[in-house]
């Protein structure tokens, strides 16, 4: 039972009109593992997440979550099972303060089931729980930041807010779509331990990233996509040594060298 993957994707295919955005992509994620997905722009990474979480309808293929076929389930049912995602283009509720953003996921059926934090319960009402989660994810509790309107928050905090929305659901797996991009080096440096802590809490992660150096610090297994096809899967070293990847992703061998020295 324990060696059953938490998420298994079989031959996921998606066409937009004539464009083949995903071509029979198969992979799996193990319990508590961090899987990195890399690939050039437009290679279908976001499309893959959208298909898994049913935000767009897959053309063909199957998706199993803990052995259960979820290919035909609607998006909210999938999130309800604990398969959560962040959005590459952040989607906070701009008209609400940061901590009120979390009242919404905390109001969801899953949070009510798993969290035991009904309003006024022993964990306090949803506002308090929301602030607790924000603190965990790196909002300074005693500052004004958690109370600021989401529309006034800088990118770094919005990325954290995306993760916080997933955490409010007590997820089993989070699909992260470029949580590092748009962040400064120091912001990323403070995000990495956070990601490591999520893994220690037993949450599996799929991380789509362009920031390879930081990704290789946390993910031991990498999958490479190019033009909607899976090129290779393996450890960071294996993947970076592959000729096809060098060609598709970097164009030149020197850049690979540079990345590998830091990894």
């Amino acid at each position: 039972m324990s060696d059953q993957p938490i998420l298994e994707v079989k031959e996921a295919t998606k066409t937009f009109g004539g464009i083949l955005a995903l071509n029979r992509v198969s992979f799996h994620v193990n319990e508590g593992e961090i899987l990195g997905i890399i690939g050039p722009n437009g290679s279908g990474k976001t499309t893959l997440i959208n298909c898994i979480t049913a935000f767009i309808k897959m053309t063909s293929g199957k998706i199993f979550f803990r052995g259960k076929d979820i290919s035909r389930k609607p998006a909210h049912k999938i999130a309800d099972m604990g398969l959560t995602r962040t959005f590459q283009i952040m989607r906070p509720y701009y008209s609400l303060p940061a901590y009120k953003n979390l009242v919404i996921p905390l109001f969801s059926p899953r949070a009510k089931r798993t969290g035991g934090w009904r309003g006024g319960g022993k964990l306090g009402d949803r506002n308090t729980v929301g602030i607790d989660i924000l603190e965990e994810i790196g909002f300074e509790r005693d500052s004004f930041v958690p109370y600021k309107m989401a529309s006034t928050l800088p990118t770094g905090y919005l990325k954290r807010l995306e993760l916080a929305r997933c955490l409010a659901l007590k997820p089993e797996i989070i699909l992260c779509d470029e949580v590092f991009s748009g962040l400064s080096m120091s912001e990323i440096a403070s995000m990495v331990p956070l990601i490591e802590r999520l893994q220690m809490d037993g949450i599996a992660l799929v991380m789509i990233e362009h920031r390879l150096r930081e990704l290789f610090r946390v993910a031991r297994r990498i999958m490479v996509l190019n033009f909607g096809e899976k090129l290779i899967e393996g450890t960071p070293e294996e993947v970076m040594a592959d000729e096809k990847v060098k060609e598709a992703y970097f164009g030149s061998a020197e850049e690979v060298e540079e990345v590998m020295t830091y990894a």
Partner: protein
């Protein structure tokens, strides 16, 4: 010499957020409750200020439009559904209450709640198919239903056909009529204001703000939209049910476009998204429109002109403007 400077009254209150701490002194309490008291007391004494039969009738009509306007504001500004279905709600609620009263012999004060709940259920079911869709579909479908219903009743000659249903009981007396509709407006006004600040209300606002994020949070957005449509159509159906007992007649004019358009004009005038604003808008617009009754259908031109004028010159609406001015009131304090 004594120094004095100006200070805004609301400053101290705003810093101490979230209710409890706002009540630090009687003066601040007064500052906060005064506008609400003015509105509540104002509405309650209206029937005495204008005791003539004619104006009392106008007050009832104002209240019915006010229910529609609050219902429009709730859907449009807190859920993101633009409803042109005022006429649908009025018609469905009105006909149900009329049937309950004439065919089953329920007294008005029993038929009205039944019509409110049952009507809201029917309207929600009717509008349900377009809830998963985004965009303009909800507006179009909600506009189409009342037009279609009027034609169906006419063509099939059901529910009294073009003559309508006659012999409907009125309220026991006109004071009960007045206070029933006034209390309902106050009830729903403060009820909706409460609702949008509950956690459920936050979810509804989130659906407007970003429905994809709500789906990603494991919530069925269609269900929450349906909940909002139910609340909203309940208000409209209540209005319609009251209306047939006021006129003692129910006919296809209940599906008239006025019930869809005037509440929107009132919302724009009063201040969209404030919930109180639309009620104020009705208090202004409906009596003026009564005075223009002689012009018949030309009145629609008048609503349109007012709408355009407000959108061009003061798009925020009376309520938002008034609120800002009220918060800017200053007093002199010693330094």
């Amino acid at each position: 010499m004594e120094q004095r400077r100006k200070e805004r009254i609301d400053r101290g209150i705003k810093v101490r957020t979230d209710g409890l701490y706002a009540l630090m002194s009687w003066r601040e309490l007064g500052y906060l409750t005064l506008p609400r008291l003015v509105l509540i007391v104002g509405m309650l004494i209206l029937p005495f200020v204008m005791p003539s039969m004619y104006w009392q009738r106008v007050i009832s009509i104002v209240c019915i439009y006010a229910l529609l306007a609050v219902s429009f504001d709730l859907l449009a500004h807190f859920v993101g559904l633009v409803s042109l279905g005022g006429a649908l709600f009025i018609g469905v609620g009105g006909y149900i209450s009329a049937i309950m009263n004439t065919s089953f012999g329920f007294p008005p004060l029993l038929a009205i709640p039944i019509a409110t709940i049952a009507g809201a259920g029917i309207c929600t079911l009717l509008l349900f198919p377009c809830l998963p869709l985004r965009g303009v579909y909800f507006a179009i479908v909600s506009l189409m239903y009342p037009l279609a219903m009027a034609r169906v009743i006419e063509a099939l000659d059901i529910l009294g056909g073009t003559d309508g249903i006659m012999g409907i009981d009125s309220f026991p007396n006109r004071w009960i009529e007045q206070y029933f509709v006034i209390l309902m407006v106050l009830l729903f006004l403060f009820g909706v204001r409460r609702l949008v600040n509950l956690d459920l209300g936050l979810v509804l606002r989130a659906v407007k703000d970003n429905d994809q994020a709500v789906r990603a949070s494991g919530m069925n957005i269609t269900f929450y939209k349906a909940v909002a449509v139910f609340f909203s159509s309940a208000m409209g159906c209540l209005g319609g049910a009251c209306l047939v007992h006021i006129y003692m007649w129910s006919g296809i004019s209940l599906f008239a476009l006025d019930f869809s358009i005037l509440p929107i004009a009132a919302t724009v005038i009063g201040g969209a998204g404030t919930i109180v604003g639309p009620v104020l808008g009705c208090l202004i617009l409906v009596p003026v429109s009564e005075l223009l009754r002689d012009f018949g259908t030309l009145r629609i031109v008048f609503y349109s002109l007012i709408l355009v004028a407000f959108i061009v010159f003061r798009s925020e609406g009376i309520m938002v403007y008034g609120q800002r001015k009220y918060h800017q009131i200053e007093r002199w304090v010693k330094v």
